[in-house]
Structure formats: structure tokens, C-alpha cells
């Protein structure tokens, strides 16, 4: 068992935020005495990532994903627990550590706005002290994989959002980091561009063996890239395991699709009827009853075709979050 690339043990981050009532008198009072409220953004996270793994890091807005990524990349100081990345304590921000990691934030840009990306890349070469030959090779490789050729000479401000994101990702990978933190790398991009970036990340991981921790709101990203997912909510771990295991654990129902002649039949007795189109009924049934209902359907009706499916991953995730919200 190789040493984990990323280790978290009971990691916590508590923010102190000023809190006051609305209104003038409260504003005046707060001039003299500020009341602070503790917010537990990350509340005792424990997990490991093996070298070379790609893991999806999921949770609703405000779950603590970005805070965790910032702690792992050394931008935030944990208020409790421990984390180690490539054997380093990220918070110390040692140069050897910073040279081996990267953080891509889909909503922020590091490229200089007014000049072509190629110039920003050159600046990164100097910052990371990359030998010219290595830099050239990596840049050529990234240019080919991301199809950057025509984009490199255009001022960044003239690029489309997707083109800019491709350049941002390239800039973040020029120093061949062994650990890659990606915070919503495909946010706001169209489906084609999302797919392209996804394919790139997969290929990059395969070639470089880098460890990747990825947050995304697009389940397609997660499904395509991550075998393993970690789900957090309110800063706490909800699930850590295979994507299929998540579906197993959290989906209480299955979907049965039955093809009949037309939509005339009444299938309410068999389960919750979602819809019917051209005789294609979609039923939602509790997981435990799937076999029995299927059997009855086949026995009772002139079934042309029948299909049992897990619900879409979005639906499962959505259910996980709403269940948790109701609990708390």
C-alpha cells in the first residue's frame, strides 16, 4: 500500500463571522461590542486519497468543499484536525509543496487579462523555475491535448469562456503537479466544452499519474471521471466510496420502464406512475419490491419490452442532500 497522496484526519475549519440584528440601534451597539458567531464550515473530515486516484468531491453549495480544497492547498489554516498532502503540511506553504500541487478555480482567473496566454505561460515557467526543455515538452503536450494552438496568441480577454478555461487549466498544469485540485472546472461551459475538458482530465490523469480531487455540480463530470466519490454536507462526511455504491446506499427506489401497445392501461396499482409516452410507461417502485412488481407486470400485461434501471445519479444526489437537510 503506497502512502496516501492526500490525508485528512478530523479536519475542521470554523469561521468567526460578525453577527448583528438589523436596524440603527443594533448598528450603533455593534460599534462598541461586536458579537461573533462561529460557523463550522468543515466539521471533522477524515479521508485518504491514494496516488493517481481521481475522486469526485460532492456536496451542495456551502457544504465546505471549497474550504476543504483551500485548506489542502495551503490557503486556509485549519482550526482543528490535520491534513497532509504529499507528506507536507499544506499550511506551511513550503516551496517544494507549492511546486507539486495546483488549484484550478473555475470562477477565478490567473491569466493576465490583456496579453496572450502564451505570455502568461512564460511567466509561469519563470515562477516555477521549469527547465526550458521540460517546459517546451509539457506545453506542446498540453497544446495538443487541449487544442490550444490558435488560442495561444490571442489576448486572453478576447477568448470565449470555454477557451479561457482551457488556457487556465493548461497554465495550472505546466509545472506538472502531482496533486491537482479542481474546483468547478467546467462551470458555465457548454456541453461540448465540458465533455472536452473531461476527456482531457482523464487523459492527463492517465499520462501523469497525478492525484485529482474534483468538485463539480455536473454529475456527468463525476460519472465520467470518478470511480470514487466523497459526499459532504454541512462540513461532514456523508458518503465515501464507489459511485455505484452511492446509488445503492441512497436510492430507495428503482425505475421500471414497460413498453405496451399504448397508454390506455392503468398501471397505478403497480407503483408510482411517472409518465407514459407512446405506450412506454415509467414506474417508480421501492427497491425491495422490484422483483415482485416486475413479475406481476409480465404476468398481467402484454409486455413488449421491460427495463429495470437505477434512478439517474442527479436524482440520488438530490435525495441525499434533501434527506440530510430535513434531518438537521
Amino acid at each position: 500500500m503506497p502512502e496516501p497522496a492526500i490525508q485528512l484526519h478530523d479536519l475542521c475549519k470554523t469561521y468567526l463571522v460578525p453577527e448583528r440584528e438589523p436596524g440603527i440601534s443594533a448598528a450603533l451597539r455593534s460599534l462598541f461590542k461586536r458579537r461573533m458567531k462561529a460557523v463550522n464550515a468543515v466539521d471533522g473530515l477524515t479521508f485518504d486519497l491514494a496516488p493517481g486516484e481521481i475522486v469526485g468531491f460532492l456536496g451542495p453549495n456551502g457544504a465546505g468543499k471549497t474550504t476543504t480544497l483551500k485548506m489542502l492547498s495551503g490557503l486556509l489554516h485549519p482550526t482543528g484536525g490535520e491534513c497532509r498532502v504529499l507528506g507536507h503540511n499544506p499550511w506551511k506553504r513550503e516551496r517544494d509543496f507549492l511546486r507539486r500541487i495546483t488549484l484550478v478555480m473555475g470562477q477565478r482567473n490567473q491569466l493576465v487579462w490583456d496579453i496572450p496566454a502564451a505570455d502568461s505561460f512564460d511567466l509561469n515557467r519563470a515562477i516555477y523555475r521549469l527547465p526550458a526543455a521540460d517546459y517546451r515538452r509539457t506545453l506542446d503536450e498540453l497544446t495538443a491535448l487541449l487544442e490550444l494552438g490558435p488560442l495561444l496568441k490571442v489576448p486572453v480577454r478576447n477568448l470565449s469562456l470555454g477557451e479561457r478555461m482551457k488556457c487556465e487549466i493548461a497554465a495550472a498544469l505546466l509545472h506538472r503537479p502531482q496533486v491537482v485540485f479542481l474546483d468547478e472546472p467546467t462551470i458555465g461551459l457548454d456541453v461540448t466544452m465540458q465533455r472536452r475538458i473531461r476527456a482531457f482530465l482523464q487523459e492527463y490523469n492517465r499520462r501523469s499519474g497525478a492525484t485529482v480531487l474534483l468538485t463539480s455540480h455536473y454529475m456527468a463530470d463525476v460519472e465520467a471521471l470518478c470511480k470514487r466519490v466523497i459526499v459532504i454536507h454541512h462540513g461532514r462526511l456523508l458518503f465515501d466510496g464507489d459511485l455505484s455504491g452511492l446509488v445503492q446506499q441512497f436510492s430507495t427506489h428503482k425505475t421500471i420502464v414497460v413498453q405496451l401497445e399504448d397508454c390506455a392501461a392503468d398501471l397505478h396499482a403497480y407503483g408510482e406512475l411517472i409518465d407514459c409516452e407512446d405506450g412506454r410507461f415509467t414506474l417508480r417502485v421501492p427497491k425491495a419490491e422490484t422483483a415482485r412488481v416486475t413479475e406481476r407486470l409480465l404476468a398481467d400485461l402484454p409486455v413488449i419490452d421491460l427495463l429495470v434501471e437505477d434512478p439517474p445519479i442527479e436524482e440520488v444526489i438530490d435525495r441525499v442532500f434533501t434527506q440530510e437537510a430535513e434531518k438537521s
Binding site: Y15, L16, T67, K70, S73, G74, L75, L76, H77, W91, R93, R95, D96, L98, R99, I101, T102, L103, M105, R108, Q110, V112, D114, I115, P116, D119, S120, D122, L123, R125, A126, I127, Y128, R129, P155
Partner: protein
């Protein structure tokens, strides 16, 4: 060690290229900047020439042509030493750009120094042009001396670093407060009176001159000007260089202390 400096030089060269490429995209703003660079010394020269002509041709040892020389030299030294970092830091902290700087394996001050020096190099010809035009109109007179001109070079370099480090430290106030503007205002007022910007320091009462000797402001701006114009004795020049060295040391200590604290605060509250 040699390797370290080679890498640093490489970084400075790349930053120069980046800054240069960015700046030439904004020709209009360069022109506006040049106009404002003319206006400030122009106003001071006209005001002080009028005052000195009105009081028998000289005020505090400065004739109208003496004032012209003073303000033209001040403009050049100011151009060489000023920074805009205090305006920029608040923006960086608020917009989260500082995070990118913190993720890089090099102290962010290097990029700022390099960026600053680069833009100075680019605007230098403009300022020298402006100085030539002003000289044509106002006939500056100064007692140039060879030794003083030589001493001017280290004085200018020290002035640049002291001013840069102090203003960079002040800019770090953005870690603690979102009202950096108020701090800047206080600083600018002190700078205006104690650096020799509003008037040569010899025109002020002696207690204020004593204060200016101890405080850093004169060493960031007025001192190299006085030196260049031949208004200081060799002894005064040495004292000045000594004070600059003291402030360089102090500001280096200060910046280390404040930077570490500031990053800790940034890391505590997030961006």
C-alpha cells in the same frame, strides 16, 4: 546562491515582458498619465515662482529657477519611486487574486517589484520628455556637482526600496480592514508635508525639519532631489544615505512581521 539569483532574474525579465505587453495595450492611459505627470510640477513651479518673485527673488534659498529645478527633479525622483500597490492590494484581497499569488512557489513581492520597475522603465522616456519641456520653459538652475551626482544613484535606489517596502507594508492593511482608503489618506498627507513634496523641507520650521529627519518620508523622495541639486554638504549626504540604510533595515523587518501576520489573518478568514 548564484542559481537563486539567476532564477530571480529570469522571473524579473518575464515580468518585464508581461508588464510591457500589458501597458502598450493602453496607449490612451499612458497619454493621460503623462499629462498628469506634467500638471503637478507645473502647478508647484508656478505657485512657488510667484511667491519667490514677490518676496525679493528668493524664498528659503530658492529662486524661481531654483524652484523649477527642484520640482523637475522631484518629478523624476517621484516617478522613479512611487507605487500604486496600496490601491491594488485591496482589490486583490477582495477578488481572491491573492490566492493565486499565495499558491506560487515565490514570494509575491518579487512580481510586484518587477512589475513596478518594468512600468518605470516604460514611462521613463515620457517623464524625461516632460522634464525637457518644463526645463525649456522655466530655465531651472542648480549647483550640480560630480560627487553629488554619483551619490544620487545609491540614494535613488535606496529611496525606491524604502518607499516600495513601506507602501507594500501599508497595502497589507487590506488583510485586516476593507477601509484601506482611510489609512492611505493619512499616509498621503504625511508624505505631502514631510517628504518635500509640497515645498522643499528647508522652508519649514526647524522642529518640522527635525521630524522629517527621523521619519522615513524625506528619505523616500526629498533627499535624492536635494542631493542632485547640490544643496547638501558631503556630510549631510552621508547622513542621508545612513538614514536610508536604517529605514531600509527597519522596513524589511516590518514587512516580514506584517506579511506573516497578514497571511495568517487571510488564512483564518478566507477570501
Amino acid at each position: 546562491m548564484g542559481k537563486y539569483f539567476r532564477h530571480l532574474l529570469d522571473l524579473y525579465v518575464q515580468q518585464f515582458k508581461t508588464t510591457f505587453a500589458s501597458m502598450v495595450q493602453y496607449r490612451a492611459s499612458l497619454i493621460i498619465w503623462t499629462v498628469s505627470a506634467v500638471l503637478e510640477p507645473l502647478v508647484y513651479i508656478i505657485v512657488w515662482s510667484t511667491v519667490s518673485n514677490g518676496s525679493g527673488g528668493s524664498v528659503g534659498g530658492y529662486t524661481a529657477r531654483g524652484f523649477a529645478a527642484y520640482y523637475i527633479a522631484l518629478m523624476i525622483v517621484n516617478q522613479a519611486t512611487y507605487t500604486w500597490i496600496m490601491y491594488e492590494y485591496e482589490y486583490r484581497v477582495r477578488q481572491g487574486y491573492l490566492s493565486f499569488a499565495l499558491l506560487r512557489p515565490v514570494h509575491p513581492i518579487h512580481s510586484d517589484i518587477a512589475d513596478n520597475l518594468s512600468s518605470k522603465l516604460i514611462t521613463l522616456p515620457l517623464v524625461l520628455g516632460v522634464a525637457a519641456v518644463l526645463a525649456l520653459f522655466f530655465h531651472p538652475a542648480a549647483g550640480l556637482q560630480f560627487w553629488a551626482a554619483l551619490a544620487f544613484i545609491p540614494a535613488l535606489v535606496l529611496a525606491f526600496f524604502v518607499r516600495f517596502l513601506i507602501e507594500w507594508t501599508l497595502a497589507l492593511a487590506a488583510f485586516w480592514t476593507t477601509r484601506v482608503g482611510a489609512i492611505n489618506q493619512v499616509y498621503f498627507v504625511l508624505m505631502l508635508f514631510l517628504s518635500g513634496q509640497i515645498a522643499p523641507l528647508t522652508l519649514f520650521p526647524s522642529w518640522l525639519q527635525a521630524a522629517a529627519f527621523v521619519l522615513p518620508f524625506r528619505w523616500m523622495l526629498g533627499f535624492p532631489v536635494e542631493l542632485l541639486l547640490g544643496r547638501l554638504s558631503p556630510r549631510q549626504a552621508l547622513e542621508g544615505l545612513g538614514m536610508q540604510a536604517v529605514w531600509l533595515g527597519l522596513s524589511l523587518l516590518l514587512i516580514r512581521f506584517v506579511w506573516r501576520r497578514g497571511v495568517r489573518v487571510y488564512a483564518a478568514v478566507g477570501a
